[in-house]
């Protein structure tokens, strides 16, 4: 039921009502609206009940196991939130002079330094407001680098076919032609195809490592050598940094530019479209182009570095310096973990994924890349099950909801038919993982014995199976009163 459907003329919620409409008199007659706006008229009590009920229908990481993992959102430690909410942070004006905001600037400087250290890059800028913006800025820096050398012939960006769709989209936004490279049977980038594609037109290669297929690119050093030898640069999509956090540094793999999704790897809030945060890290040769502002620490004081000192900077991406509250949460997260803790994140994320992969294989599920060790995630394919029973990956995902588990990512990456991309993340206990395996086993039996029941899932949720085709075809979400 929508809040509008609780509406009755004249009902009031006094805590939300404007104090007076008297000031409306100052608006000229011809500009005053003739009919009242379409707002719900609901009592305070009914409003509280409505939103409490909605919140109880939430299926979230705070209530259930959520095998979307860092791909969507990890558990957000409560301490990060409570410390970032200190009034000394929240009341600070973004234009406050440097000398009154030294504490905040110190946090941001330390965050830059820690991210440099954990990724092996020469410089970090915290200013991008989301992953897609981090990517855009990364590729803009690649273009600025080539142009600064008078090298205008490089108009191609190489992207493996397993990449996130944002990679080719970013390359096109920056005016490049996308050259797609196939994946081999083991889930690696096809080296022969890469060799054939690299040349004097190559501006760069965009790579996610571990890849979206949940495996570590075995030939990353060789790829780096090939692209650099041809004069191109290497871009690291940080989507899967969680698997290697602090253990393997993108800088050591030869990457020139990287974006880091704080809302993935560094446990900051994410969902509902933001606020995201995607700092970019650069190698030495891209330092002149890094977006401003960044924070410097000199003679015991912190200060902003702006366009004045970075004339070749590709510029600003946000009015101030990114999403301040998100950056603070990430800062507190890395300070709580320390470098040892970050190593443990990578180790347990990988251990949990490999444990689940082995247990699900034992339970009878088909693993898409069975010869490979999982990174922090792995792929199950239901192709065979679908061919035999008609039950799809999406059906299984919906049935998991009935069993009290959030569904994993479905139908991505698109290279693998009927796939589930499962990422438990480091925070889950063995008991939780075992419970998930039991639920998956039960569903496998149900698929054999009652396939139609599985196809009709979910059965125990507040809402039954939704008409996703209708939802996608009829995008109008606005409510109108019945005539």
């Amino acid at each position: 039921m929508l809040i509008f459907e609780h509406s009755r003329p004249g009902r009031r919620n006094y805590s939300q009502s404007p104090l007076t409409a008297a000031s409306a008199n100052k608006i000229p007659e011809n500009l005053q609206r003739k009919a009242p706006p379409l707002l719900p008229e609901v009592s305070e009590m009914d409003t509280v009940r409505h939103y409490t009920r909605l919140s109880q229908k939430n299926f979230s990481i705070d209530t259930e196991f959520y095998p979307l993992g860092s791909c969507t959102m990890k558990y957000n430690p409560r301490a990060c939130n409570s410390l970032a909410m200190l009034p000394q942070f929240t009341a600070r004006h973004p234009l406050a002079p440097e000398n009154t905001g030294q504490g905040y600037l110190a946090c941001m400087y330390d965050l830059q330094e820690i991210l440099k250290d954990v990724t092996g890059m020469a410089g970090v800028s915290l200013t991008p407001m989301a992953g897609a913006q981090g990517e855009l800025i990364g590729v803009m820096m690649i273009r600025a680098y080539h142009e600064s050398r008078g090298d205008f012939a490089r108009n191609e960006i190489i992207v493996p076919d397993a990449a996130h769709g944002t990679n080719p989209a970013t390359a096109v936004m920056c005016g490049f032609k996308v050259v797609e490279i196939a994946t081999d049977k083991e889930g690696n980038v096809d080296m022969a195809a890469l060799k054939a594609a690299v040349g004097p037109k190559t501006a760069g290669l965009m790579l996610t490592n571990p890849s979206t297929l949940g495996v570590f690119e075995k030939n990353v050093s060789e790829m780096s050598r090939m692209v650099h030898q041809a004069g191109g640069l290497l871009y690291y999509d940080g989507a899967n940094l969680n698997a290697v956090l602090g253990k393997v540094k993108p800088g050591d793999m030869g990457f020139d530019v990287i974006h880091i999704n704080l809302h993935k790897t560094f446990s900051t809030p994410h969902g509902g479209g933001g606020p995201g945060s995607a700092p970019v890290g650069v190698a030495e040769r891209l330092l002149p182009f890094i977006p401003v502002p960044i924070v410097a620490h000199e003679n015991g004081a912190y200060r902003w570095i702006t366009e004045k000192e970075k004339p070749q900077s590709i510029g600003r991406l946000s009015a101030h310096m990114g999403n301040a509250g998100v950056l603070l949460r990430a800062y507190i997260y890395v300070r709580l973990l320390g470098m040892d803790g970050m190593h443990r994140v990578a180790e347990f994320a990988t251990l949990n994924a490999n444990y689940l992969m082995v247990e699900l294989r034992k339970a009878g599920f088909e693993i898409a890349y069975p010869t490979r060790r999982a990174s922090h995630e792995f792929i199950v394919t239901l192709k065979d099950i679908k061919d035999k029973t008609g039950v799809t990956g999406m059906n299984l995902a919906k049935r998991l909801l009935d069993k009290g588990y959030h569904a994993p990512t479905t139908y991505f990456p698109m290279l693998v038919p009927e796939c589930l991309l499962i990422e438990p993340a480091e925070t889950e206990s063995k008991e939780t993982l075992d419970g998930f395996v039991v639920a998956m086993k039960e569903i496998l039996t149900e698929i054999q014995e009652q396939p139609d029941m599985v196809k009709g899932a979910p059965h125990n949720m507040p809402l039954r199976k939704l008409d996703d085709v209708k939802a996608a075809r009829e995008l109008d979400l606005s409510w109108k009163p019945e005539a």
Partner: protein
């Protein structure tokens, strides 16, 4: 579902029907719509647009994904099936009749480089493994 033998095919799952007047009609294959699932939106090229072979020229969007459609051969777009804009589900129902657009080929010899039904069948079998 058998693969019609009077059509030509591409690796990217478009079908091409050479018409008697020298034009060609283009759509996506049964296999393509099966992979994509329920279609929700189709974006068609503008009539009059000159396409290079393999150029991205249309988008087929389903509940699962948005897939680019590529020009199987080069030529000028002379007609589009605008019925699909309101009824994209026709691609699911009858992919070999739900054509997307028609081209006037600029180099008809490119047709010879396309797959025939047997070649396309082999391609699908290889994709299974």
């Amino acid at each position: 579902m058998s693969i019609p033998t009077d059509l030509k095919y591409t690796n990217s799952h478009e079908w091409v029907k050479p018409e008697s007047d020298g034009t060609v009609t283009i759509g996506v294959t049964h296999h393509a719509q099966e992979l994509l699932g329920d279609m929700v939106f189709v974006e068609l090229p503008q009539v009059g647009r000159e396409l290079a072979q393999k150029e991205e020229c249309a988008v087929a969007e389903s509940v699962k994904a948005a897939a680019d459609v590529y020009a199987p051969i080069s030529g000028e777009v002379i007609a589009v099936n605008s019925d699909l804009e309101s009824e994209p589900e026709k691609i699911n129902q009858d992919s070999y009749n739900a054509w997307l657009f028609k081209l006037k080929p600029s180099n008809a010899a490119e047709l010879d480089g396309l797959l025939d039904a047997t070649g396309y069948q082999t391609l699908l079998e290889n994709e299974q493994h």
